[in-house]
Structures are given as structure tokens and as C-alpha cells.
């Protein structure tokens, strides 16, 4: 027999001393790599996203849209690599978000963006501020949150402690950004007294100018004297509140007016601008206090490539030591997020699963080949994985749930090569036709080449998944890469290590029976003889059998349109947290928002699985990856609140986080609705985050028409069962007082419009006029000039504000310079409604309606199909109907149009790419087998096995009540490779037997009999290895595909493929 590559390799290594050394070396480097590879939960996804803020003070959204947003967008879309450009034109400012294609280099993208922006700065309107660019990256997401809370201390004091701690933590190696959420900063507040200002004839602008001019100090140069240089320094910075209060701001009569004469100066907390509280809930450990406490949260992010769990450990250690010194006894530090711990846990759970899978597979192999055989197989797995982990490390992958999952996924597959080789050696040893060494080499030569071919078919099956594009790409790509690498290593191990091990471990059949081996006496042969003969002999029965199989296939596929099995991109993972996002109508006071947040928290407190909660009103909660994409870090307005809900550890509760979220939704929203608010339950998405699960983008000729249609679409959303958390990105009407300056009067009094605007801004919003130069520089201490709260709450309060006339210098007035003019004389108040923000997506004006799905339907696609019919019936001006679009933006904006986006977009991209990948897989497999068998027909027969897997896969999902997800699809694709490999092994043996002179029928039955054992063994390994994944919410779909598809298509392959081959060959004979 021709030895082939496999036989030659085996001959080299089967008795070589180098083989055990190679095995040991592989194991060692693998173990080292495992410890050196950083661990994290989510894969590193590089989605360069840049937010650009361009201020144009005073402009309306429409103006911003036309003058700032549009020109910027237009230039930015020209940059290569830009995927989407979004913009929001708000009053006074434009926010343009540029999203690059996944995987684009972040730094290069920033540079390109910067240069393009600078090139076009001349197109910016007069008065536009300098653009402020902010890169948004996954490493901005804090991995560790420490909440400082106290029964007795107030938010200001807590924040000061947190600031000191943050300062210390900055010294920890490899630490990223440290931020503080909540509490009040230290500030020197200059609260103006309107009456005294008028009395002393001092204007707010004058005060600001005086403070700025006083607060200066600089090095003036040096004197040289007697061979020495003496530095000369001038001025003195403001160092404390007393310094500030002693500033002379004006003159009254002959005496100076000090700042303290016209304002009260307080060095202390800034004005309250957020309410953040912490509380324990129903599932808190016994003895936890029941109230809610002012809280300040310190967030720690990691640096790129750092190990989250190591960093978290170091930080916690440091915090422990500070508990004696910096952190007073009455401030408690609670860990409210630790992604390091969750990452470690996830990694270790997956490693445990991996181990279980390996053990389970070994046991199965043991059934067939005895313990010695299973030992051979068992030894080959760690070597394969060790090498794969090494490559992970070299390729800069981290150990995360996707990379590890790739390993679990291939556990069942990587043992196959070893199984096939070991099994055949075992069989040849048992046959005893040759001496031991010769038997082993013959055995390897016999199956070696089909094994190599089979390995490449499986690789061909999984590798095209690399080409999944979009956000899902980085989630997917480690899988095909990891799996392909593991397959190649497993092949090498099977050809080098397995023969060496088998030769030493497997016994050459000294178990008693010495008669000549005869296949026809084996149980398998008898079985297949009885099963296959009737079908081979009677073509009627054969067609009947094909008919039955065809019906089963049709029945299985029919389950999809019948909704017995639903499609979804990815199911929810069981997490230990979720968030409640509360939006009150625009214009709601911070206190009212905080009150609603508090009430919702009160309800959440009673939920048995909730351990603790924090609410943040007026400041955003520490973001997660989801919040990063959804821009939750901008949620700092008075009408917004975030509630972070921490559940007990998933091991200590029965309910999945998704079920808890579903359960509390009604209660939470009921409270929010009572106050006209909108509350959403936001879970951490299992895959790439999107704006919302369901997004309807509404395009049209004018904003008012778009909003009118959006309103109708929103109603459709609300009336569809299973669609929850309905919201839209259209602000509620907010009251605006427009102070219109009477230009003539202002000119006659020597006052400029700018002066008026600045005075008002300083009085109401306050103005930071400088920094206090303190010794300990934890948080910068700003000096702010503002009217006290009590003097700036109504229109009447405006009357007491004065501006100073510029006098003759203004060239429009004959008044004396410095004369105080009351504002009320110069402005007229107009009551208006705030203009709505204008959103753009890829240069088209858009209004978003968003929602989530839960309950009646968990898959957005079905909800969308449901709503399509209703949306088509909507009446729009012009009398046409709106057909929701699925994949492409509307061609023009002349007519109202709607496009689905959100999870759908990603689902569509993934299934499209996976579908394309699958088609490519089929072609590659076909080509591979043609190359091997030199026949155009045989590959087609072999590929019959592929659709047969559907008979198992779809009903399997139905039995488990699971969704057909992206992972199910991956399972299906991988299965195609495995099933073709089985066919290859079957038909290869038929051809060998026929070449040896056996009859067609005899060869077919013999081949089925001989190959059943390795086929059942390898498929069994895949099936058993996948069982552990059944319990993982995300990978369940893949497990179901592999298990049910594997079982049914193996059985069907063993019967159908030989029969079809028989039929085809008989005809050609």
C-alpha cells in the first residue's frame, strides 16, 4: 500500500526519541501561555468611534444643522474607512459621531479625522468654537467600581475622600482612567448680592475681570549678581477663599470695594448638581443597613491589553491598606462592579467546561477502545490545546469568552483525528495480519490521507467565518481562527504523537482469540447487512427510504416558517447586573427626576434577587460597553437618571437575569409613567451593542412630517404585544424664555448685546473665572461667580441684574461710562418652546423610534414583520403608504420612508455573511473532494449529508425551546464539515475495497460496518463534548446544533450515503 505523507511521518516518529520530547515541550509552552495571556470577559473590539463637539453659541438646531453639522459630515464621509457618520444638532452645539469600520487602527483614524477637520475649518461659520474631539474606546469602560457611602457624611465629604483615594490609586501600575461619579466638588463660590452690586456700582463682568487679573503669577526673568542668578517672580495666585474675598473689584466714593462687600464667598461644595445614592436591597447579606445613603462612585478603567482581574486585585489591595489611613471608619467602600472577577470567573467556568468536555469524550472513547485507547486520545487533547493557546498568546488574543469558547467548540472535533488513527491501529492490531510496527504503519497509511483531507474539509467549513463583517466580526473571528489552528495541531498530533502513544499503549490483541480477523463476523457487519440489504436489493424500498428522509427534512424546515423555532441573533446571557434608564420630560427639575429614580429604586429594593442598587440623577452611571455605543456618558441632564441594579451572584439564584429584568419591567414602568417619565430596562447585550434592539429610522422631507410619522410608528410599537421600552428621540416641549435685546435702547445706553448675554450667563449658569491654586491638587478647585439659587429662579429676578454702560467709548451713547443700567430696561421676555434637536445619519435627516422586545416575542424579526403590516396601513400626507425598508437607506428624502435598524442590522449582516460563508464552504469542500476522488459525482453524494443535519438541528431547537441563533448557525456550518468527513471515510473505504476486488454491494456493506465505529466515535465525541455548552445561555444554540444535528445526521449518513453511492455506481457500471 502507498504510505502517503501520513505513513511517512508516522514511520519517522513512531520510534523516535524526539517524539516524547516534542510532546513535553508543547505542553510546557502551552501552560506558560495560559498564564501569560491576559484574561477578560469581552473580546477586545476596536471600533474607533470619535465624538466631535463643535460649539456655535446661540445658534438654533436648524442653524447648527445647516452651518456646522452638514459641512462637517460631508467632509468626514470622504475619509476612507469611515462606516457611519451620525450627527445631532442641538441648540448651541453640534455633536458629530464618526464610526470607523471595525478593526480600523484607532490612532491612524484619529489622525485622518483631525487633518480632514482642520482642512475644512475655513468652512466653519463665524463664531463657531474650536472642535473638541473625544475618542471613545472599549478601554474607557471601567472594569472596577467602588462605591463610597456613608451614614453620617455628606456627598461633599465623601467625594473628598474618594478623590484622595483616586489620587493614590493612580500610582498603581497599569491602571487606566480613574473617575469619580457623584458627590460635589470643592469650589469657591462667589454668590453675588444684587442689591449690593447696585449700591456699590459694580457689575458682574467687572468682578470676573478683576478676579482673572488678580489671579496671576509668573516668572519675570532673573537678576545676575555676584556670580549668581536670582529668579524674579511677580504676582501671587489666589490660594484660599480669604484671598478671593479681599480682591478689590471697584471703587465707591474714595474707598475701595472688596469682593466680600458685594458677594458672599464660600469655600466648600459646589452647588448640588446631582443626586447619587446607594442602598442594599432584598438579597443583601444579613445585617446590611436598610436605608439609602449618599454615595460617590470611583471608577477604574484598565489600559489596553491589561489584565482586568490582576488590576482589580491590585486596586482592592491598595484600597484595603487605605482603610486605616485615608478612608475614615464611617465611610464604607462597596465593590459595585468588578469585571476582573467576572472575567476570571467566566474564564475558569469555561476552562472547567473544557475539562469536562475532554473527560466526557475520553469516557466515550473508552467504551469503544478500552482505557488504553482513551488514554491515547486523552493525551492528544492537552497538546493540541497547549499549542493553540500559545498561538493565541502570540497573536495578542486575550483569554475571553469567545477565544475559550472556540476551544470548547472544537474539543469534540480535535480528538477526531487521534480517534481515527488510534481506532484503526487498534483494529489492525486486533486483526493480527502483520507484526506490530508494520500493522501500525499500515493502519496509519490507510486512514492517514482521508484524515488529512477530512481535517481540511472541517477547516474549510469554519474558516470562512472570519469574513463576518461589522461589529459581530471581532466576536466571531477568534472562533474560526482558533478552531482552524486547533484542527491543524490536532492533525499533527494525530500523525506524530498518536502513533507513538498507540504503539506503546495499545495492546496487540493478546486477549485470547487468535482466529483470522473476519469483518463479516462482526456485530456491525451483521447489523448493516440486515439494515442495508433490503434497500440495496429493492429499488422500491430504497426510494421509499429516500422519500421518508425527504419528508423528515421538509418537516424540519417547515418548523421555521411555522414559528416553532424562532430566529434571534444571540440570546441574553445570565449577568449579575442590569440598568434602569429613566428619562423624564425635558424641563423636569433634577429633584423631581431624583425623586422618581428613588421611587423606582424603592420598588427594585423589594425584588428578591436584587442585592444592591445605586441611582444617579443628573450624572451618568458608570458606563458599560453598551452605554459606550449608546452614548450614555452624555446622560448628565437634570431630566435623566440611571439606576444600576446589582443582582446576587448567578450561582445563588434560580432566575436568569433576563427573566428578572422581564419581571420587574412592568413595575418600574408603572412608577415612571405616573410621573410622565419613560423608564427602560437595559440589559448587557450578549453580542455587539446597538442603539436599541428595535430601531425605526424615519426619513422624510421635513422634520415636522417626520415627527408626525414617528408618532404614529410609536403608537404602532406601543400597541404591538412583545414590544416594550418604546421611546423616541424627540424631546418634549420645554419652555424657553427668550430674552430679546432691544438694540436701539441698548445702543443708546452704551451696552453691547454681548455684554448682556455674558452678564446673564454669569448670573444664571455661573462662570468659572479661574482656579484656586491650592497645595493639595486632588481635584481642581474652580472659582465660580454666580447669583445664589434664591435670586435666580424666576423672571422677576432678572429685573435686579445690572450691566454697566461703556459710556462714550461705545460711540453710541452719551452716558457716563460705568453707569448701571438695569437689564429689564434692555430686554423683552418672549416665551417659546425649545427647538428640537435634529439628528442625521449618513447625511440624511432622521427621527428615531426605539424599542426592545421581551415577553410575547423575544426575537425582533417577528415583531418587525408584525408591525410592517400596521405601518403600511398608516395614513401619511400625500396618500402613499410607507413600506418599511430592511437593508438599504431610502434613495431620496422627498417621500416619507422608514428603515429598520438596531439589532436587525447586525442580525442581517451576520446571517448574510454566515450564509455567504456557508456557500463558499460548500464550494471549497466540493473542490477539495474532487481533487481527492477525481470525480465530479462522488463529492455530490458525500455532500448529501449536509442538509440531513437540518433534520436534527431544527427539531432539536424546538425540543429545547431555544432560538436559532448565530451560534446555531456556526454549529450548522461546522457540522457540514464533520458530516462530509464521515462520508469521505465511508466512500474512501468502499473504493479501497473495490480496488481490492470486492463486489459493489459487499464493499458498501463492509465499508459501513468497518467505518461505523470511527464515525460513531468521532460524532459521539462531538456530541458528548458539546453537552457542557447546553447550560450556557449563549452557546446553547451551538450545542443543540452539534448534538441533535450530529446524532441524526450520523445515523442518516450511515444509511443514506452508502445507498446513494450504491445507486450511482450501479448505474455507471
Amino acid at each position: 500500500m502507498n504510505e502517503g505523507i501520513a505513513g511517512k511521518l508516522a514511520k519517522q516518529f513512531i520510534n523516535s526519541k524526539i517524539t516524547p520530547l516534542l510532546m513535553m515541550a508543547a505542553l510546557l509552552v502551552g501552560i506558560m501561555a495560559t498564564f501569560m495571556t491576559p484574561r477578560e470577559e469581552e473580546p477586545q473590539i476596536v471600533v474607533p468611534m470619535v465624538d466631535i463637539y463643535i460649539p456655535l453659541p446661540g445658534a438654533t438646531p436648524a442653524e447648527i444643522e445647516a452651518r456646522v453639522a452638514k459641512p462637517v459630515e460631508r467632509t468626514l464621509t470622504e475619509i476612507p474607512g469611515v462606516d457611519y457618520v451620525y450627527s445631532t444638532a442641538m441648540p448651541d452645539v453640534a455633536l458629530v459621531t464618526v464610526r470607523y469600520k471595525v478593526g480600523e487602527d484607532a490612532e491612524k483614524s484619529m489622525v485622518k479625522l483631525w487633518s480632514t477637520l482642520m482642512k475644512n475649518m475655513d468652512k466653519m461659520p463665524q463664531g463657531a468654537g474650536f472642535p473638541f474631539m473625544k475618542k471613545v474606546s472599549i478601554d474607557d469602560v471601567p472594569v472596577l467600581n467602588l462605591t463610597f457611602w456613608s451614614k453620617d457624611k455628606d456627598p461633599y465629604q465623601i467625594r473628598q475622600t474618594a478623590t484622595q483615594v483616586a489620587d493614590e490609586l493612580k500610582k498603581v501600575k497599569n491602571i487606566g482612567d480613574v473617575e469619580i461619579k457623584g458627590g460635589q466638588r470643592r469650589q469657591v463660590r462667589i454668590m453675588l448680592d444684587k442689591a449690593k452690586l447696585q449700591h456699590f456700582n459694580v457689575s458682574p463682568l467687572q468682578i470676573a475681570r478683576q478676579i482673572q487679573q488678580t489671579n496671576s503669577q509668573m516668572t519675570s526673568g532673573d537678576f545676575r549678581q555676584v556670580n549668581q542668578e536670582i529668579v524674579v517672580r511677580t504676582g501671587k495666585f489666589l490660594e484660599n477663599a480669604a484671598d478671593v474675598s479681599n480682591i478689590v473689584v471697584g471703587i465707591y466714593g474714595a474707598s475701595p470695594v472688596y469682593l466680600r462687600d458685594v458677594a458672599s464667598i464660600v469655600d466648600g461644595p459646589e452647588e448640588v448638581n446631582n443626586y447619587s445614592f446607594f442602598g442594599f436591597a432584598a438579597a443583601a447579606p444579613k445585617g446590611s443597613p436598610s436605608g439609602e445613603y449618599p454615595a460617590v462612585t470611583l471608577t477604574v478603567a484598565k489600559r489596553k491589553g491589561g489584565d482586568a482581574s490582576v488590576l482589580a486585585g491590585k486596586v482592592m489591595e491598595k484600597v484595603e491598606t487605605m482603610k486605616k489611613s485615608i478612608i475614615p471608619a464611617d465611610i464604607t467602600v462597596s465593590e459595585t462592579r468588578n469585571y476582573g472577577a467576572t472575567a476570571s470567573e467566566k474564564v475558569f467556568t469555561l476552562l472547567e467546561h473544557l475539562l469536562m468536555a475532554v473527560v466526557a469524550v475520553t469516557v466515550v472513547v473508552g467504551f469503544f477502545l478500552g482505557w488504553r485507547g482513551s488514554l491515547v486520545v486523552l493525551a492528544s487533547v492537552p497538546i493540541t490545546f497547549a499549542l493553540t493557546l500559545l498561538i493565541y498568546y502570540l497573536l495578542d488574543y486575550s483569554l475571553n469568552r469567545v477565544t475559550l469558547f472556540a476551544l470548547i467548540f472544537v474539543t469534540g472535533i480535535v480528538v477526531d483525528d487521534s480517534i481515527i488513527i488510534a481506532e484503526n491501529i487498534h483494529r489492525h492490531f486486533a486483526m493480527k495480519r502483520q507484526p506490530k510496527l508494520q500493522a501500525a504503519i499500515t493502519a496509519i497509511s490507510e486512514v492517514g490521507n482521508p484524515t488529512i483531507l477530512a481535517t481540511f474539509t472541517v477547516i474549510a467549513a469554519v474558516l470562512p467565518m472570519v469574513f463576518v463583517s461589522g461589529l459581530m466580526g471581532p466576536y466571531m473571528s477568534p472562533m474560526p481562527i482558533g478552531a482552524s489552528l486547533a484542527m491543524i495541531f490536532s492533525l499533527l498530533v494525530a500523525l506524530i504523537a498518536t502513533p507513538w502513544l498507540s504503539f506503546r499503549l495499545l495492546k496487540s490483541g493478546d486477549d485470547g482469540h487468535h482466529e483470522e480477523y473476519d469483518i463479516t463476523k462482526s456485530g456491525y457487519y451483521k447489523l448493516f447487512n440486515t439494515v442495508l440489504t433490503p434497500f440495496i436489493d429493492s429499488s422500491f424500498k430504497r426510494w421509499m427510504a429516500f422519500g421518508v428522509v425527504g419528508l423528515m427534512l421538509a418537516g424540519a424546515i417547515a418548523m421555521v416558517p411555522l414559528k416553532a423555532v424562532q430566529m434571534k441573533m444571540l440570546p441574553f446571557d445570565n449577568k449579575n447586573e442590569f440598568q434602569v434608564i429613566l428619562d423624564m420630560p425635558e424641563g423636569t427639575s433634577l429633584e423631581q427626576t431624583s425623586r422618581v429614580a428613588k421611587e423606582i429604586s424603592g420598588y427594585l429594593k423589594s425584588v428578591p434577587e436584587v442585592q444592591s442598587y445605586q441611582y444617579y440623577a443628573g450624572v451618568n452611571a458608570p458606563i458599560n460597553f453598551n452605554g459606550l455605543v449608546r452614548h450614555y456618558y452624555l446622560r448628565q441632564k437634570a431630566n435623566m437618571a440611571d439606576i444600576q441594579v446589582n443582582l446576587v451572584h448567578k450561582g445563588e439564584r434560580k432566575a436568569q437575569s433576563h427573566d428578572i429584568a422581564k419581571r420587574v419591567r412592568a413595575g418600574v414602568q408603572e412608577i415612571a409613567r405616573r410621573y410622565n417619565g419613560n423608564a427602560k430596562i437595559v440589559e448587557i447585550p450578549p453580542g455587539p451593542p446597538v442603539l436599541s434592539t428595535l430601531v425605526a429610522e424615519i426619513y422624510g422631507p421635513s422634520q415636522s412630517e417626520q415627527i408626525a410619522l414617528a408618532k404614529q410608528v410609536k403608537q404602532v410599537f406601543e400597541s404591538t404585544p412583545g414590544v416594550v421600552d418604546v421611546d423616541w428621540m424627540v424631546e418634549e416641549d420645554q419652555k424657553v424664555y427668550n430674552l430679546v435685546v432691544n438694540k436701539e435702547r441698548a445702543a443708546a445706553r452704551g451696552v453691547s448685546a454681548e455684554q448682556i448675554a455674558q452678564t446673564l450667563r454669569m448670573s444664571i449658569a455661573g462662570m468659572d473665572v479661574g482656579l484656586l491654586h491650592t497645595e493639595n491638587g486632588h481635584d481642581p478647585v474652580t472659582i465660580q461667580v454666580r447669583l445664589p439659587q434664591s435670586a435666580r429662579s424666576s423672571r422677576q429676578d432678572l429685573s435686579g441684574i445690572f450691566v454697566q454702560s461703556q459710556g462714550m467709548g461705545s460711540l453710541t451713547s452719551r452716558l457716563r461710562a460705568g453707569q448701571m443700567i438695569p437689564l429689564s430696561e434692555l430686554v423683552r421676555v418672549e416665551e417659546k418652546v425649545q427647538d428640537k434637536s435634529i439628528f442625521h445619519k449618513d447625511l440624511q435627516r432622521v427621527v428615531y423610534v426605539t424599542a426592545d422586545v421581551a415577553g410575547a416575542t423575544e426575537s425582533p424579526v417577528y415583531a418587525m414583520l408584525d408591525m410592517d403590516k400596521k405601518i403600511q396601513k398608516l395614513k401619511v400626507p400625500g396618500g402613499y403608504s410607507v413600506n418599511p425598508l430592511y437593508t438599504a437607506n431610502p434613495a431620496n428624502e422627498e417621500k416619507l420612508a422608514m428603515k429598520w435598524d438596531g439589532e436587525w442590522q447586525i442580525t442581517f449582516e451576520v446571517f448574510r455573511d454566515l450564509g455567504t460563508a456557508f456557500a463558499v464552504v460548500l464550494v471549497i469542500i466540493y473542490l477539495l473532494i474532487i481533487g481527492w476522488f477525481q470525480s465530479f459525482k462522488t463529492p455530490l453524494i458525500m455532500m448529501i449529508a449536509i442538509p440531513l443535519s437540518l433534520v436534527g438541528i431544527i427539531p432539536g431547537h424546538w425540543l429545547h425551546g431555544a432560538f436559532f441563533t448565530a451560534t446555531s448557525m456556526i454549529g450548522m456550518i461546522a457540522l457540514a464539515g464533520i458530516m462530509v468527513r464521515n462520508s469521505v471515510l465511508l466512500i474512501d473505504f468502499i473504493q479501497i475495497r473495490r480496488a481490492e476486488g470486492a463486489g459493489l454491494k459487499q464493499a458498501v456493506i463492509e465499508s459501513a460496518a468497518v467505518r461505523t465505529r470511527p464515525i460513531i466515535l468521532t460524532s459521539g465525541a462531538v456530541v458528548i463534548g458539546s453537552v457542557v455548552m447546553l447550560f450556557d445561555p449563549i452557546f446553547q444554540g451551538l450545542a443543540i446544533s452539534l448534538i441533535w444535528g450530529g446524532v441524526l445526521s450520523t445515523i442518516l449518513t450511515l444509511v443514506v450515503v452508502p445507498l446513494v453511492y450504491y445507486m450511482a455506481e450501479k448505474k455507471s457500471n
Binding site: K153, D154, P155, Y156, Q157, Q184, G268, P269, E271, V272, Y275, A282, S290, G291, E292, P294, F367, F368, S522, G523, S589, L590, E591, Q592, S594, R595, K598, G602, S606, V607, P608, E609, K654, A655, Q656, D659, R663, Q789, S790, A791, S793, S794, R795, Q796, L959, H960, G961, R1013, G1020, I1024, V1027, L1030, F1031, Q1036, I1043, W1044
Partner: protein, 138 residues
């Protein structure tokens, strides 16, 4: 070959595949914890200053307001006489009252005199003097 005997064991593994089927039962929600009752001197409603509707202002007595650092709070008597802390923002003073800028609504009941002894989550009893106080306040 003695494999056939062992092969029968394989179907025994089948039930394993069915594990994880079916939805999980939701847990019933726990009912509230025991509450204690405290008697307070006065409970007053949030009043309106009664100016023109455009310039309406809400008032609470100064004694009802407590400070936590810079946070200002009142004890609100909610449904079932349950006490909860409400953070508010106040403006200028008006006689013995403060103008409430945010956090309270007209007609809500607050404890007239703040006492650190009254914790969130307790219920309060209106002592007989309550009605008198209300009258004198108005």
C-alpha cells in the same frame, strides 16, 4: 468483539441532552418588612404662595427642611403614612417658609418639624395637635 453490549449504554446518555429544556419559574416577590409607627408633632401640606398663576411658588416651613451637607431634604408623608426622604431645592425665604424650586408638589404632606429620630420607612401618626398647627400656619 464485545462492543455491542456496551453500545446499549449509549442511549442512556440521551436524557442528558434534554437538560436545560423549558423555561424557569419566576420567584414570587417578597412582601414588605415590619414597620414601626412614630408620632410627630405636625404634618403640613406643601402650600402655594397664592400669587398670580404664572408666578406661583411652593412653600414649606423652614423647620421641615434638614441639611445633609449641601443637600436639602424634607420628610414626606406618603401613602399609608409612610415616611420617605425627599431631596429638594429651595429658593428664597418668605417669612418662616422657604420657596421650593424642585422636588415637591403642591398638596404633598411633609413632617412640619424635622427630627433625626424619624427614619425613612417608618409610618407616622398624626397627633391631635396637627390640625391646630395647620390652622395657625395658614
Amino acid at each position: 468483539m464485545h462492543l455491542r453490549n456496551k453500545l446499549f449504554l449509549l442511549p442512556a446518555l440521551l436524557p442528558l441532552f434534554f437538560t436545560g429544556c423549558g423555561p424557569h419559574e419566576p420567584l414570587p416577590a417578597k412582601s414588605g418588612s415590619p414597620v414601626s409607627t412614630v408620632a410627630v408633632e405636625s404634618i403640613v401640606p406643601v402650600r402655594s404662595s397664592g400669587h398670580a398663576p404664572a408666578a406661583e411658588e411652593l412653600l414649606v416651613p423652614k423647620s421641615a427642611i434638614f441639611m445633609k451637607g449641601d443637600l436639602e431634604g424634607v420628610l414626606v408623608v406618603g401613602a399609608g403614612d409612610l415616611i420617605s426622604v425627599r431631596w429638594i431645592r429651595t429658593g428664597r425665604s418668605l417669612n418662616g417658609d422657604r420657596v421650593v424650586l424642585g422636588g415637591l408638589e403642591k398638596g404633598e404632606l411633609v413632617v412640619g418639624k424635622y427630627s433625626a429620630a424619624i427614619n425613612e420607612g417608618v409610618t407616622v401618626k398624626k397627633s391631635p395637635r396637627v390640625t391646630e398647627e395647620k390652622n395657625t400656619n395658614e
